[in-house]
Symmetry: C2
Subunit: 225 residues, 2 copies
Amino acid sequence: MTFSEENYLKAIFHLEEDFEDGVPTNALAEMMQTKASSATDMVKRLAEKKLLHYIPYQGVRLTENGEIHAIQVIRKHRLWETFLVEKLSFSWDEVHEIAEQLEHIKSEKLTDRLDKFLNFPKVDPHGDLIPNKKGDFPVINKVRLSECQAGDKGTLIGVEDSKEFLNFLDNQQISLHDIIEVVGKEEFDNSFTIEINSKIKTVSSKTAESLFLLLDVGREDNVTK
Amino acid sequence: MTFSEENYLKAIFHLEEDFEDGVPTNALAEMMQTKASSATDMVKRLAEKKLLHYIPYQGVRLTENGEIHAIQVIRKHRLWETFLVEKLSFSWDEVHEIAEQLEHIKSEKLTDRLDKFLNFPKVDPHGDLIPNKKGDFPVINKVRLSECQAGDKGTLIGVEDSKEFLNFLDNQQISLHDIIEVVGKEEFDNSFTIEINSKIKTVSSKTAESLFLLLDVGREDNVTK
DNA sequence: GAAGTCATTTAATGGCAGTTAAATCCATTT
DNA sequence: AAATGGATTTAACTGCCATTAAATGACTTC
């Protein structure tokens, strides 16, 4: 499996969320930053390898096998991102590009060892779910701060990505894994008052929408497809 | 720079030790596990990119620039090997193949961060020297145990690679970074008596030739090309 | 110095992944 | 039912990296 093939599988996997009855060539080409003709070509190759179903003019759909491959690439991507942030002190906005390369390293043992080294994380630094070895995505209580009620308490597990926002968080001394308790919500402007690191802070509605919390209550350790 | 180009540069760098006045196409092809014609082709491409000097029928020689690239690939390879052994508990014989992939990841920042994370190691798990960011190889007192005298004391920094030998070391409870003091040498069969982990052991001449020590005495912290 | 041998290069070809340009399909409009 | 327009596919070509087969160069040997 080439890098390019893996990248197409990953793209199709993500696009299937939006295109439930077949991912169109054009959408695929756009996501891959290439031309529709290139996408058609690749899709034919992947179809021959039984990694996806392809009916001309009707888009593509991953096969069971294709999905397994796609999920494993996503797993590796998210584990490496976690590694880069947690162990090598990268900031959240720097890791994507590097993880795009690392996700193609072929060694199941490496992936598993990395997973263990990181203590089997369930979410990456962007708050995206990390599938386990079997390909199951964890079920966790992940919500945007903006959706919380007064009294809710949780851990900051992810943020919306943008250099400006990350900079802002840095200035505000808000970091990944900080424990946040919702003190109150201001109905007037949807701003939130939170307690974080034993300090009381107020964050705007826009900020609240960009922070992902893992809620403490009702936590389940189940996983599902 | 493609993976393949980087691999050729690395191979040429290593071969220049043996072929000081030009690396022959055939030697290069053999190291790359490919055909001479493929090597010629690649060599032409690399010559066009000014990474090496190529005179038909007279072999190749890296340019300054080519050498810099080759050394950086070697640096990454050895840092990743160190990471795999020290952090992910891989054994010495498993890491080469994975490092062959990781060495091509493009991010200077990643390499530097990894270096720091590993505490700027000077040797990899095989005892090979790790060049620094500038491309200088460290100067250290690295010797085979077989070349030591009674009274010498040092740290086990590398071993000759083979599954059998690594297995043997495991059984003998000899590990990387163990401190070894030479108690005596038996002239009869060139076996060595050593103190390791507060225990006295005798190792055969063959074993002594396969263990690399970093001697404690006369250590220099200089680096050189 | 001609012949032979080995190393090396050139030429032709194939797979992968992209491009542009032309052709084709599908759905809608008239 | 024909025409139009957008999405999609096909065709022809390029670069990278390998292959095999043929040609050529360099050196030894007689």
